[in-house]
């Protein structure tokens, strides 16, 4: 029997949902009560499955917790898993992303934090080391905080080439390394920054999320602070990909795996009107790499929906057919077990949902 796990990071802790069939769910939590959990990962590359949680307690600061027994017990490294070295003169404010590497590199885990910095673990997420080349990048003084803080929120290790990693930050934009993190270059050609004097700068964009195609790692989708873009050359250039969308703003973006997979996103009206268009919970799907988008919202509220889906709160479980999950700032989690054809509510009355991850457990 398949068992699906959904990990929901909220403003006041982590909630875990379990289902044998994606119809009937049992929920438990909160774990790490009162910690804002903005990053969570379910690492299925090794046995036992490891849960990784990046939380920030308003009083006691940020911390990484790991569990190898599906949340029954948690480990927090004594020295803290993620911390700037003393010479950096900075403190980790929040952990925004915990991203396991590809299955071929089972001990590799990446972390993006605020202030914008990248950390790498080679022990499965127990301890992390700062990437100095990105931290010392001459552009760093020009990166500015968005409304959520100056965060590095997306890490995309290349599945086949350990030398290539893409990161995205708000603001700052997309940066790429092709030499295993020894150097980084901006990779924003074509992505607009309408809030800057030069609307197409080399860097400085407010990129909200980037997702990689599971079938072709050179194909990527990017939700910008105004605009959705696709790249077919590994991020070297970006083209607008908004045909069929009701708006070009938003945060949540994901892709279901496999040759028949699709990109999904959750548009919001605009920068200065951060609501779903017309008060309707709208998920949009593209099956052709972003050339066109179509509505995939059956079952979601079609009116009176005035909450939003944050950048890591739209995700997939990678099952066949793929399940989709979205969490809202109003504490609801919705799911689809048929790649977005139909949605139903899984749980409500949670604290603000900051991130959602799902996986089929072995």
């Amino acid at each position: 029997m398949v068992q699906v796990m959904v990990a929901v990071g909220t403003k006041k802790g982590l909630f875990l949902g379990w289902s044998p069939d994606r119809e009937n769910w049992e929920w438990e939590g909160p774990h790490h009560s009162m910690a804002a959990v903005a990053a969570v990962a379910i690492d299925t590359r090794q046995s036992p499955v490891r849960l990784l949680v990046g939380g920030r307690n308003e009083h006691w600061g940020p911390a990484v917790f790991t569990s190898d027994d599906r949340g029954q017990s948690w480990v927090e490294e004594p020295g803290g898993s993620i911390a700037f070295p003393s010479k950096a003169g900075a403190d980790v404010e929040q952990i925004w992303q915990l991203q396991p590497g590809p299955p071929s590199r089972p001990d590799e885990v990446w972390a993006g934090v605020e202030p914008s910095a990248l950390f790498r673990s080679d022990d499965g997420g127990r301890t992390f080391a700062l990437n100095r080349a990105l931290w010392d990048h001459p552009h760093r003084s020009d990166w500015r905080p968005g409304a959520g803080g100056q965060c590095l929120h997306t890490v995309l290790p290349h599945p086949d080439d350990s030398n290539r990693v893409m990161v995205a930050m708000s603001t700052g934009g997309v940066y790429v390394t092709t030499d295993a993190g020894a150097s980084w270059n901006p990779s924003n050609t074509g992505v607009r920054a309408p809030f800057m004097p030069d609307p197409e700068p080399e860097y400085g964009q407010c990129v909200h999320k980037v997702v990689r195609d599971t079938e072709d790692p050179d194909v990527l989708m990017l939700q910008n602070h105004g605009g959705v873009y696709r790249s077919v050359d590994g991020g070297a250039s970006w083209q607008e990909a908004m045909e069929g969308l009701p708006a070009n703003f938003g945060f949540g973006l994901t892709r279901t795996p496999g040759p028949g997979g699709a990109f999904f996103l959750f548009p919001l009206t605009a920068d200065l009107s951060r609501f779903p268009p017309d008060g309707r919970a709208g998920v949009y799907r593209s099956v052709d790499g972003g050339r066109a988008w179509s509505d995939a919202s059956t079952g979601l509220p079609d009116s009176g929906f005035h909450t939003i889906v944050l950048r890591d709160a739209l995700t997939t479980d990678a099952a066949t057919p793929a399940g989709l999950y979205l969490g809202t700032r109003s504490g609801e989690v919705w799911g689809s077990q048929d790649e977005g054809a139909n949605w139903h509510q899984l749980v409500s009355h949670l604290p603000d949902v900051l991130c959602v991850r799902a996986a089929v457990l072995p």
């Binding site: 009083h59 006691w60 600061g61 927090e76 803290g80 911390a83 700037f84």
Partner: protein, 97 residues
């Protein structure tokens, strides 16, 4: 010279302080400070001190520390010198939502 200091903790931190809310600490040297106290305690209870101080050594924003009743932020901060039999009280500030 040995300076004896009592560190008093809120109950919510007892689980990272060996289950105790009060730690009796003996420090050698002259004019030991709050930082010296936390450095010493970190050797035994690293999770505790991480909750009080950032990696760059700053008191966390919503952690208040009182040395013999005085908020150290109103004085020398974590450089506040602790006298013999000093009582250092840690309290979470009013924060959150």
């Amino acid at each position: 010279m040995t300076v004896r200091v009592t560190l008093e903790l809120p109950s919510v931190l007892a689980d990272v302080a060996g289950g105790r809310r009060t730690l009796a600490v003996e420090m050698d040297g002259t004019d030991p400070t709050v930082d010296d106290l936390l450095d010493l305690v970190a050797g035994v209870h690293p999770h505790l001190v991480r909750r009080l101080r950032t990696e760059s050594g700053q008191l966390r924003r919503h952690v208040n520390v009182y040395a013999d009743g005085a908020d150290v932020r109103g004085g020398a901060g974590t450089s506040t010198v602790l006298g013999h039999n000093a009582v250092v009280l840690v309290l979470p500030s009013v924060a959150g939502g």
